[in-house]
């Protein structure tokens, strides 16, 4: 897989002073893949993305992007990447169209080609009618789409998206997901970070779960759920608290129990059977929900914490 790897990291470390933000991670991302970093705030996702984007120098470890060394060949690597950073950094002094054409010039794209490319991309992200507007009046979702369009001006082989939909309303998120899905179908390699499990499930072929600078698990969303969780989860709420006492009362039902402050999670392959058993023991929950297992459950199991706090 190594000569196919667009990104290869071994023991990659990033320190800020004596604080270690990325703590020795290994990565292999193949061409055409949609690869995700799933983890809570502060996990080290952005620090990793910035090293991959060649705008931050690794403190230790090996890193190769597109088969090149980011320290020596930063310029050559960046010319083949598209980057959508966590915070939009569009140019407020320029119009929507100029944000694309000016950016294209940084890649050495000719004026005429840049103009053409901007037209196509504004069409692609559905901003053609705002071409002459300044950036400031755009909504959050529009700015995000413009940033993604900007990341595409150089027809990159690899696109880095740091939390592409954080802070957007559901409609804006779905529109973005749909555009990203099209990019993926065109064969563009996508690497994204997110702390939304549904986003990871929607977009990623494969992902790593990151926590406190380390990778704690790796696999496809389905494989992760199969490995670290059960097929279904029963959420139980009880009128009384604390809930800790229920741990003993639920022993033997399903495979595992997690007691959260407001609810108890029962991991079971057959949720309905588990619920029947709860009722048979006359535990009288005030609320019962049987649902499919998600990456959230995987994360909770691996780290003992929830993803979004």
């Amino acid at each position: 897989m190594t000569d196919q790897s667009l990104i290869r990291a071994r023991g990659l470390v990033k320190r800020f002073g004596d604080f270690t933000a990325v703590d020795g991670i290994d990565l292999d991302v193949a061409r055409g893949e949609a690869f995700g970093f799933l983890g809570p705030n502060g996990a080290g996702k952005s620090s990793t993305m910035r090293m991959i984007g060649c705008v931050s120098t690794p403190t230790a470890g090996e890193l190769s992007i597109l088969g090149l060394d980011p320290v020596k060949d930063g310029t050559r690597i960046r010319s083949r990447l598209g980057v959508c950073p966590q915070l939009d950094n569009l140019d407020p002094d320029l119009t929507v169209r100029e944000n694309l054409t000016t950016y294209a010039r940084y890649f050495g794209i000719s004026r005429a080609a840049a103009k053409q490319r901007a037209l196509e991309l504004l069409e692609f992200v559905q901003l053609a009618d705002r071409a002459e507007s300044k950036v400031e009046p755009l909504s959050g979702g529009m700015k995000r789409r413009l940033t993604i369009a900007r990341a595409m001006v150089n027809e990159p082989e690899l696109v880095l998206l740091d939390e592409p939909t954080t802070g957007l309303d559901p409609q804006a998120r779905h529109l973005l997901w749909e555009r990203l899905f099209r990019l993926k179908q065109q064969g563009v390699t996508l690497v994204l970070t997110t702390h939304y499990m549904d986003e990871a499930e929607q977009l990623c072929d494969r992902l790593v779960v990151m926590d406190a600078g380390k990778i704690v698990a790796e696999g496809s969303p389905r494989a992760l759920i199969e490995t670290y969780s059960t097929r279904e989860v029963v959420e139980l709420r009880f009128g009384e608290s604390p809930l800790e006492g229920f741990r003993d009362k639920l022993v033997g039902i399903g495979e595992r129990t997690d007691v959260l402050p407001d609810r108890v999670l029962l991991y079971a392959d057959d949720g309905d059977a588990a619920v029947n058993e709860v009722h048979r023991r006359e535990l009288a929950p005030s609320g019962v929900l049987v649902r499919r297992s998600t990456l959230e459950d995987v994360f909770l199991h691996l780290t003992g914490r929830t993803l979004v706090d």
């Binding site: 931050s56 310029t75 960046r78 010319s79 140019d91 002094d93 320029l94 950016y103 940084y106 050495g108």
Partner: protein
């Protein structure tokens, strides 16, 4: 040695003129879109002209003619005008590569997005420097025009002085950028402004340096604005000689050193 420095500052892993041009292009785009920028542009022009009128004409009426060491006798305004010109070339370039540059990368985050492109930090710096010179040369050209109209120089010597003022701008602009990479915050700009003002007062601007004590003369001869003023004055008064070439060489070295250290420091600072 100078050529090596310039070459290594500029070619070290390959500066591409196309990308430097793209940075200039961005600033032109921003200028077109922002009305307030024009005001800044225009106000930068008046300062040296006001100095010229008040000191050159006003004070000049009291002082009369002055005699230089080589025996040249000049009306005071003719003596002062090239100093104002050199100083304004210094101030214009430094305003752009210190104050504006600092604001752009620290607060406006103008370059954050640019760093993700093939453009290298030194190319951003060069682009800003070229942009500063494009702006500065508009002032310079207008000021030289005013000098011709006021009969303080001839058209021919004004044309010869024009590239010299560009050199002044490049040299101070490049060194200004090193300061920018060392700035801890806005308070450091006060220090720099004070230093610039001291240079402005003593660099053979208002009086020939022979009027000062000898020790003082030596110190002045080490400082950059002195060389800028003397070089520009030699040209606008129509008396270039070998000394003029020495002044020019001083400024070329200054520019090379400026670019070399800026390139090294910027990379470390921006690619954290």
């Amino acid at each position: 040695m100078v050529t090596t420095l310039v070459a290594s500052a500029v070619t070290r892993p390959g500066v591409a003129p196309v990308r430097v041009g793209a940075v200039v292009n961005r600033n032109m785009g921003a200028l077109r879109s922002g009305a307030s920028y024009w005001l800044v542009l225009i106000s930068g022009f008046f300062e040296p002209v006001f100095y010229l009128l008040s000191i050159g004409i006003g004070v000049g009426a009291l002082v009369g003619d002055i005699t230089l060491v080589d025996g040249q006798v000049l009306p005071y305004a003719t003596f002062v005008a090239p100093a104002m010109l050199a100083t304004s070339a210094m101030n214009g370039a430094m305003a752009e590569t210190t104050f504006n540059f600092f604001f752009k990368f620290k607060y406006a985050k103008t370059y954050d997005a640019v760093l993700s492109t093939p453009v290298r930090p030194i190319e951003i710096a060069l682009g800003e420097l070229v942009w500063a010179m494009m702006r500065g040369s508009v002032y310079t050209a207008v000021f030289l025009g005013v000098m011709v109209v006021m009969k303080l120089t001839t058209i021919g010597w004004a044309l010869a002085a024009f590239p010299a003022t560009m050199l002044v701008g490049f040299a101070f602009g490049a060194v200004g950028m090193i300061f920018t990479t060392l700035m801890r915050g806005w308070q450091d700009f006060d220090l720099m402004a004070t230093a610039q003002f001291a240079l402005f007062l003593f660099s053979a601007t208002f009086a020939p340096i022979q009027n000062y004590p000898v020790v003082f003369q030596w110190i002045i001869q080490l400082t950059p604005l002195y060389h800028a003023v003397e070089m520009v004055r030699d040209l606008t008064t129509g008396h270039p000689d070998w000394g003029t070439a020495v002044h020019a060489l001083y400024l070329v070295v200054m520019m090379a050193v400026g670019l070399y250290f800026t390139g090294r420091r910027l990379e470390r600072m921006l690619l954290k």
